[in-house]
Amino acid sequence: MQAIILFGVLISTYLMVIAKRSTSLIRAFRYQSFCLFLATLIIAFNEKQLDLYIVAGLLFVIKVLAIPRYLYRFLNKIKANEDLGLFINAQLSLLFALGFTYLAWVFARRLIVSDYALAAIVPAAAFFMVLIGIFLMIFRMTALAQIIGLLAAENGLFLLASTVSGGMPFFVEIAIFFDVFVSVIIMGFFIYRINKLFTHIDVNKLSRLRG
């Protein structure tokens, strides 16, 4: 079961890499968050901890429902160009992503102290998600893609925290959720302003400040 979910996480991350339009990127992010939600739910079920159920619930409400919906509504409102603006085309990005997968695996194998070789699989997936998140932030031109990249990286960290260190303390987890939610809203607010002032959300063209 866990293997299937992990597979789902990986597939949705690859979907994010090859997405060319804002809506498909948001949809892929939603799949990714949903897989994480399932994974957390299973851990909660196995360990029978109320904390983990609450964390899973929050994950579902914030990352599967609230944030994608907010971003969709937002896209409609600003009527920005749907195109994400790829610096690197989808095929090449996919190649990069495959390279990152291997890199994450090597890194996780070196890092994780365990006799059992497969113990590194979940951390490897987590590092991979963080790498892809940062990749999206750098190699996509619109401000929206940067937000999604940040969220994807954060998802990866969530997965990492819940596997390697047995999860963050409960109130820290809540605080981080809250923080992510607030930061997405604030970034949305700034995209709205950028769109109003510049009539586009292409961050590549923001180059008034130099030197």
């Binding site: 940040l150 047995g166 930061s183 961050v203």
Partner: protein
């Protein structure tokens, strides 16, 4: 108990500023309250240095001499910024740059920003530390983009995105630290006190990798090159009192986070590793920023690059190690905070007269603003490390530490870069301060609150610079106290 007041006052003031109709009164109440906060911070510092004080609310808040020192530094700068804000905001409202309602929002954000910065050094839990630092970014992004012009919104966006990437890496580092702790088989916890206690038995490899992430992550926030690219934009576009807070306090809070993790590394891996990394980043920052200072055309960006330079010096100080390097770096944190705030305030005064950021457009500040001009001149000498100002003491301590350590290369580089920056500052500010007033510039009156703010900042600059020459022994005693925790 002082800490409750220090954290509570900004929160109450934030609400108060939002509801109060009379914004000038709100500003004055603000300044008076921050004076109270400053006195509380002083009491806290005294208590924490003299006695083994470890206040702890359910293990949530942890205060030792080091955190008290950072809170004190923050409180001095916030008091001055609150004072300066009165006149500054008043002027903006009068000229119609911002509406009365926006002035209220400004004071609310100002207080929330201060709250988040006071919170950072008081926290024990490393996860919450991360949340608090992220909170400082989110709140200050509004203050960077406050004027809602194309440039300021662009700066705010860059600031929020680059710092978010940095902070994601810092969270990764934090998780790896907690992993190292979890592997060691002790209880599950993210409290600094718990992890630091068993630092020597933690897995060295994980700690090393985790610290690199921490250093890159929080280093982005601290403005260490080559992750500094957000800093000149944000500092130059923010509302001027906020520029002082960003440069004086925010960067230092990120350094505080690095130090906290650094203690675990020093205990767990050894000083060499921590020291070399800090030296490396410090030297890169110093070299890059001194080049940019030389060719800068924008007044506030010039000061921003000088902040990167000073963060580099502080980082070198920590890299050189105890006791001289450490005490030099700590003193430098305080000295740079007050001196740079003074410079940002005077620069803001000049910009509000000439309506331009460009260095070439600003001429004859001495004639246009006699009081601020003198302060700016003193500030230039203080910032470039002239005696009898306080930065001279901290820089000389760091240079001595470098020579005693045998790091002649670092010492030489430090001296060369300081020379370059000194030359650049004298050149740029000499042109701005003296010379004839451009046509059409009318010398405007100076704000009383701004004069007060200058004097508040000038006092520690001069006092420390003179007193510390005679008190080296006490200095070293305090340094040892600070690093017991």
């Amino acid at each position: 108990m002082e800490i409750l007041f220090i954290l509570g006052a900004p929160l109450i003031l934030a609400i108060l500023a939002f509801v109060m109709k009379n914004k000038k009164a709100a500003g004055i109440i603000n300044a008076i309250s921050y004076f109270a906060v400053l006195s509380c911070a002083l009491l806290l510092l005294k208590r924490c240095v003299l006695s083994e004080c470890r206040v702890s609310f359910f293990g949530f808040i942890y205060l030792d001499a080091l955190s008290a020192f950072f809170i004190f530094t923050a409180s001095v700068v916030t008091f001055a910024a609150a004072l300066y804000s009165i006149g500054y905001v008043n002027k903006d409202v009068k000229e119609g740059v911002i509406s009365g309602r926006r002035a209220g929002i400004y004071y609310s954000l100002f207080n929330l920003f201060c709250f988040s910065m006071f919170l950072v050094p008081a926290l024990n839990n490393l996860g919450m530390l991360w949340v608090a630092i992220e909170m400082t970014t989110l709140i200050s992004a509004f203050l960077v983009g406050f004027y809602n012009t194309k440039k300021s919104v662009e700066a705010a966006w860059k600031y929020i995105i680059i710092c978010s990437v940095g902070i994601i890496l810092a969270l990764l580092g934090t998780i790896l630290f907690s992993y190292a702790f979890a592997v060691s088989g002790v209880a599950k916890s993210l409290n600094w006190t718990d992890i630091a206690q068993v630092a020597h038995i933690l897995d060295k490899n994980i700690l090393k990798i985790a610290f690199i992430f921490i250093l890159v992550g929080y280093g982005t926030k601290a403005g260490l090159a080559p992750m500094h690219t957000w800093l000149p934009d944000a500092h130059s576009q923010a509302v001027s009192p906020i520029s002082a807070l960003l440069s004086g306090v925010l960067l230092k809070m990120a350094l505080y986070a690095i130090l906290r993790f650094g203690f675990i590394i020093i205990k767990g891996v050894g000083f060499e590793y921590f020291g070399n990394l800090m030296l490396l980043l410090g030297v890169i920052s110093l070299v890059i920023s001194s080049g940019f200072v030389l060719v800068q055309k924008d007044l506030k960006r010039l000061l921003a690059y000088s902040s990167i330079e000073h963060v580099g010096i502080i980082s070198i100080g920590f890299g050189l190690g105890a006791p001289l390097g450490f005490i030099g770096a700590l003193l430098h944190i305080f000295n740079h905070a007050v001196t740079k705030s003074l410079m940002f305030f005077t620069a803001a005064d000049a910009i509000s007269v000439y309506k331009k950021h460009n260095i070439n457009a600003i001429r004859g500040v001495m004639k246009a603003l006699p009081f601020a001009g003198v302060m700016m001149l003193l500030g230039v000498f203080a910032l470039t490390g002239f005696p009898p100002f306080s930065i001279f003491i901290s820089e000389i301590l760091i240079i001595i530490a470098a020579f005693l350590n045998g790091s002649y290369f670092v010492a030489g580089l430090l001296l060369i870069c300081l020379g370059i920056v000194f030359g650049a500052f004298i050149y740029h500010f000499g042109k701005m301060l003296f010379g004839n007033l451009p046509k059409g510039i009318i010398p405007a009156g100076e704000q009383l609150s701004a004069k007060f703010a200058y004097l508040v900042l000038l006092f520690p600059i001069l006092a420390l610079g003179i007193v510390l020459v005679f008190k080296q022994k006490d200095l070293i005693w305090i340094a040892q106290k600070l690093f017991q925790g």
